[in-house]
């Protein structure tokens, strides 16, 4: 664990306490319908510790952690712990369910499409070469180890935040089954215990960032958003979003600006949102067929 001091704030609110901190490159909040500051502080500590733990363990950008070791294994078999195995297996199922569209090994392709405005569309030869470094099917996964080709790498960025939200929510429920809490890590949200009057959650308007386009009342459940809103390039009048189809090497065409999905847990909500983005023009159809509540902006 990091020795840096915890930077958290806990503020009283008429309905309880608001805890906030920053983790996983996102503002994180905990809304607690609790009148005891002591419990609120313990809850905030748990959320902070869990968010930081998952960030430190699974961030692609932290040297020496499990993901870094895998990405630097140079083709060697790497032993992994049970939690990492479970995340890999979940990623594998998502890969299969999405017919290879959701792929945690797609990061070299994403890196090729740099959305900082300074680069145009990559050359087809570059895309072809990079495609060779991508493909979950080439990863050998066992119950305690991973082996992947030396030029491949993985990134849990598409799952990690939602996973941290659910894990935190679950820990809080186990300990305080009677206190309503809303866990919000950068817009990925879970509220595991029914709140009779619900929590008011604003959904960002992708046409007008930092403004709420819709106000949702969540009594229980989870919510996750996937979007193209802040990262895209325009070349010759054509907008390329940051969601890349690993099967073609190109950004998905006609993908929504953002998709918000309500589901029983945050991991599921996040994955359905991402998968619907990968469906491009068929995002709404896909979500309709899943029988979940959703909000799509185009």
């Amino acid at each position: 664990m990091s020795k840096a001091p915890k930077v958290m704030s806990l503020q009283p609110r008429p309905w309880g306490f608001l805890g906030s901190f920053s983790a996983m490159a996102s503002p994180c909040e905990l809304l607690m319908a609790v009148d005891d500051e002591h419990i609120a502080r313990q809850m905030l500590n748990i959320a902070y510790d869990e968010a930081k733990r998952i960030e430190h363990k699974f961030s692609r950008f932290i040297e020496g952690n499990v993901v870094w070791q895998l990405n630097h294994a140079q083709g060697e078999t790497t032993p992994i712990d049970a939690e990492t195995v479970h995340l890999f297996k979940f990623a594998q199922q998502c890969f299969q369910l999405s017919e290879s569209a959701f792929d945690i090994s797609a990061c070299p392709l994403i890196a090729l499409w740099r959305f900082d405005g300074s680069h145009g569309v990559p050359l087809q030869t570059e895309i072809d070469a990079t495609m060779l470094k991508v493909g979950f099917a080439r990863i050998a996964l066992t119950d305690n180890s991973v082996c992947m080709p030396a030029d491949m790498s993985v990134d849990f960025g598409g799952i990690g935040k939602e996973y941290a939200v659910d894990r935190t929510a679950q820990t809080l429920v186990n300990r305080w089954p009677n206190h309503s809490v809303l866990v919000n890590f950068g817009g990925d949200i879970a509220c595991p215990i029914i709140k009779s009057d619900g929590w008011q959650v604003g959904i960002e308007n992708p046409h007008k960032l930092d403004n709420a386009a819709a106000l949702l009342t969540i009594r229980q459940g989870a919510l996750a958003t996937s979007g193209n809103t802040r990262r895209y390039i325009e070349v010759d009048g054509k907008r390329y979003g940051h969601i890349i189809n690993p099967k073609t090497g190109y950004p998905i065409e006609l993908a929504p600006l953002s998709v918000t999905v309500l589901a029983p847990n945050c991991v599921m909500a996040g994955m359905l949102a991402t998968m619907s983005m990968l469906k491009g023009p068929d995002a709404e159809d896909f979500l309709q067929q899943q029988g979940v509540d959703f909000k799509v902006f185009r």
Partner: protein, 432 residues
């Protein structure tokens, strides 16, 4: 029913996500869920230099019933010993006083502030409060209170309502309380402004007792207190809130301190006799309280001001601040500063002048005289595992009584008629 391939994605994801999350739940250590009970226990010591010493044990239990109901029960047991100022003035010669019970005497050395050292008592106080969140906007509470010490019984009820507005950013509250007290002083209630009698001035016990009885009223007496308070709490922004309260308190009944006396002195400042004090039997008090409280990066700070005035003409101003600093998520320290200033009651006088007409009301109790007081306190708290908290508090308190403008005759000028009272408060608390 045959699921379509697209429908099966949601169910397969639900299954996959549950398997991902549930394995973690099993791996997590089981933590006992005892959150709806909260117990605080504390031991407090209060000691005035050379005067009253008190030891207090405090137990508080809170039990939540769901998210809407909260029961709070408290017991306080304290034991007081030591001496308190009787109201008489120091003299160049030793002084002898009749004990409040009439049974026996005590002597105070020359030059010393007369203290009544018979003061010792044990008090038990019980209270219970029920709080109920009625709906999103309304919260109510009711409570009962009782305390008993040797010569005093107090019983009360209270209740309040809170209403939230403006997306819960504004809260209005109205609360009221009624208390009935029964005062049954040792040796009976003194006759107002009567003169203290001494065994030495009578030939036999029977004559003395008859004279003493002349200074006493039979039976106990009562006092009723009604309080109403109106409050507004307003959230200013993410970090600050403001609170304002107005309180009205009406007391009627026996408010005289049966153990306090006044010296009656001549123009040389020499005591001629002692008289038992007398206070009016009604008092109406208004108070205004303003508080602002804010969250800082690593702590909490509050400032408050209270103004209070009543028809005894006691006016007071209190300035107070707490600053809490979190060294780490498990350790904090809190600084407490308080300044208090009070203007004397209209019937306060440090002594009576012999020859003057005996006033209807008079008291030399420094606690209702001109006074300033301050408190400096420090508290350390430590969060332990399992949600327990241990805290230590130490405070220094000093009262500085002042002359309300009375001219000091003769020998009294040689003595400090308004001595400071210095006290230490120490407390250890444990919450679990």
């Amino acid at each position: 029913m045959q699921l379509t391939s697209k429908q099966s994605i949601a169910s397969a994801l639900a299954l996959a996500s549950c398997s991902l999350l549930s394995q973690q739940a099993n791996a997590a250590e089981p933590i006992p869920a005892n959150d709806d009970w909260k117990v605080d226990a504390a031991i407090m010591y209060y000691g005035e230099q050379d005067r009253v010493q008190a030891t207090e044990a405090i137990g508080n239990v809170q039990k939540a019933f769901g998210d809407t109901s909260l029961l709070d029960m408290k017991i306080v047991v304290d034991s007081l010993t030591g001496a308190s100022a009787s109201g008489a003035v120091a003299q160049a010669e030793s002084q002898t006083f009749t004990r409040p019970s009439g049974d026996g005497q005590y002597t105070v050395a020359a030059g010393d502030t007369p203290l009544d050292d018979t003061f010792h008592d044990t008090r038990v106080q019980l209270s219970a409060n029920w709080q109920e969140v009625i709906n999103q906007d309304w919260t109510g509470n009711i409570g009962v209170y009782g305390s008993k010490e040797f010569d005093y019984l107090s019983m009360g009820i209270n209740g309040g309502l809170e209403r939230s507005f403006n997306k819960n950013n504004t809260t209005l509250s109205l609360s009221g309380a009624f208390t009935n007290d029964v005062v049954d002083p040792v040796g009976g209630r003194p006759v107002a402004m009567s003169e203290m009698v001494f065994r030495g001035n009578y030939d036999n016990d029977a004559d003395y007792q008859a004279a003493f009885d002349q200074t006493r009223l039979a039976g106990d007496d009562t006092k009723q207190t009604s309080d109403i308070m109106f409050g507004v709490t307003q959230i200013i922004n993410r970090n600050w809130l403001m609170q304002a309260n107005y309180g009205l308190s009406s007391v009627s009944g026996y408010m005289t301190d049966p153990y306090k006396i006044l010296s009656e002195v001549d123009i040389n400042g020499v005591t001629q006799s002692y008289r038992y004090e007398n206070r009016p039997d009604s008092r109406l008090k208004h108070s205004v309280f303003l508080l602002t409280k804010g969250a800082l990066d690593s702590g909490v700070v509050d400032f408050s001001y209270r103004y209070s005035t009543d028809d005894w003409e006691i006016q007071s101003h209190t300035l107070e601040t707490h600053y809490r600093y979190n060294f780490s998520p498990t350790m904090y320290a809190q600084l407490h500063l308080r300044y208090y200033q009070q203007q004397a009651a209209e019937f306060y006088q440090p002594f009576l002048m012999s020859g003057d007409a005996i006033p209807e009301y008079a008291s030399a109790d420094y606690r209702i005289g001109d006074m300033t007081a301050y408190t400096i306190g420090l508290k350390f708290g430590q969060h332990l595992s399992g949600g327990h908290e241990l805290s230590y508090r130490i405070e220094y308190y000093q009262q500085n009584p002042e002359n309300n403008g009375t001219e000091i005759p003769g020998q009294l000028q040689n003595y400090d008629l308004f001595p400071s009272v210095k006290a230490i408060v120490a407390q250890v608390s444990y919450s679990f």
